[in-house]
């Protein structure tokens, strides 16, 4: 009983934090704060102070403002990429699991194919062929990200495909598509949501890694990933340039992971 009371808090708190951060970043242009790209050569590398609560970077830009603005892209990219991955993976997963046979073989080979291909080369190729920018980052992340959804959903469909209610529906003369959409797909949605929660945390880190390799959003746009990778060399001499965006990224990823875990637990309770 006690656990049931705790679950909503574990679910709500991370959700609230993420919503707060994301809302702040979306509303940031309306807030009475500095321009995130305002360069001020008179105040470089200032440690945190009253005027600049998180200090300034090596071009005199306010880190606090950049962290707030950065959330828009960092969280946005992760959410969009998770959504695209989930939609593609969901479709491929249920089709592959339900129809089986050749379709399954082909789809799962594609999944194997993508998993065994160096994801870095794929990411570089995508971000070089398409114009660089955040949309490309989203595509690059989703191009690999959908595969784990597909695997997971397929496995789930395999277990429910042969359940009695599906047979019953078939006996009643329902078409495959009808069964797929009305009976099987709804059962897979909770699992996808759980997976999305878990993946979001990972995707936020992927954006950071792509920035580390210079494949992320275009300068001077602030993203948490680009702020860490751009300033990482200053960790000894001006640590505030790295620590605050690093904290933002870790807290958000933590919340997303927490969200995924709590969703999973809730979902499992329902299952029983």
């Amino acid at each position: 009983m006690a656990k049931i009371n705790k679950t909503p808090l574990k679910l709500l708190l991370p959700l609230l934090i993420i919503v707060f951060l994301f809302a702040a970043s979306l509303l940031s242009p309306l807030l009475p704060i500095y321009d995130p790209n305002k360069i001020d050569l008179e105040s470089l590398k200032r440690p945190p102070n009253m005027e600049h609560p998180f200090g300034t970077d090596n071009k005199g830009r306010d880190i606090f403002v950049r962290v707030i603005y950065g959330g828009k892209i960092s969280i946005g990219v992760a959410i969009v990429a998770a959504f695209i991955s989930a939609v593609i993976g969901f479709g491929a997963g249920i089709a592959s699991g339900y129809f089986g046979g050749r379709l399954d073989t082909v789809l799962m080979s594609v999944v194997d194919f993508i998993l065994s291909f160096p994801s870095l080369l794929l990411a570089i190729a995508i971000s070089v062929i398409l114009p660089p920018g955040i949309y490309t980052v989203m595509i690059a992340i989703s191009a690999v990200g959908w595969t784990s959804f597909a695997r997971l959903i397929r496995g789930h469909v395999l277990t429910i495909r042969d359940m009695s209610f599906v047979d019953a529906a078939r006996a009643m003369g329902c078409s495959d598509l009808r069964i797929l959409f009305l009976h099987i797909a709804p059962l897979c949605i909770p699992l996808s949501l759980v997976m999305m929660g878990i993946k979001l945390g990972g995707f936020i880190l992927t954006e950071a890694t792509l920035s580390f390799l210079g494949l992320g959003a275009q300068p001077p746009t602030a993203t948490w990933g680009s702020m860490i990778s751009a300033n990482r060399a200053y960790i000894l001499t001006a640590p505030w340039m790295v620590i605050f965006p690093g904290l933002a990224i870790s807290i958000t990823a933590f919340c997303f992971n927490m969200l995924g875990e709590s969703l999973k637990e809730r979902y499992e309770f329902k299952d029983n």
Partner: protein, 310 residues
Amino acid sequence: MAAYVLKRLLLLIPLLFGITLLAFFLLNALPGDPVLSLVGERASPEVIENIRKEIGVDKGFIGQYIGYLKLLSHGDFGRSYHTNRDVLKDIVMKFPNTMRLAFAAMLIAVPLGIVLGFISAYKRGRFIDRLINVVSITGLSIPIFWSAIIIMLFLSLKLKLFPPSGTGDIRFLALPAFVLSIPAMATLTRVTRTTILDILKMPYISTARAKGLPSIKISIVHVLKNAIIPIVTIIGLDFGSYLNGAVVTETIFGWDGIGRFTMDGIIKRDYPVIMGCIIFGTVVFVVVNLITDIVYHYLDPRIRLHGKNK
């Protein structure tokens, strides 16, 4: 068994065809001229043309691909455009390093991850469970270059325990392996915990308890044995990706592995290096998958090696 392994390995051939073809296509679509990145600033047009012919980039996509397949059919991976070294030799030289790193990371991650997961599951809801949850989720939430830098500054610069960079014995291995093991350890902890919680709910555990078996025996014999499959899956996946190189970790700690080699190749558009690494990576991926499946079979004979009885 042998037939099964053979069959799986034979499937590698079409996979390799597909992957090399895709890789060639991508490389050709990429901007960036391998020859110009090779010759520096002031080479004359004749020299550039000459080199272009020599390495075959003038033959177009299909011609180049066929040329490469011909080379491969002689067991030759070609030579790096830049260093002129035999690609296969370089891969063979760097692979043991990558393997050492992957093994060491797993050596840290697997026991710790499983034990932490166990404790967490058995002490569910207690303080220790929550602590392990927070720590493991944190482990999943820190970008690897971030943890790499922090760990290097702390353990090398401040405490002077390990050298910050280099390729060599256990002292050099410690830091990159530790950094690399963090996400794997975190994932393993989560997976072990979830699986064990599932198993503890199963009727046969209650039966075993009712029969009066000592609980330690129940844990080891019944629980671990049933939890091992998802754990092996995760180990297989992580291990496979480590064997293909961990670019960021290798770069920061100056570890001479496959990941950095591939990345350098990509940056310099060194086609033979990139292709060699891709082929090698695919083989490693398939072999690790195969081993995982065989391990499944041995751990739980109910799992048939698919394809055997169809």
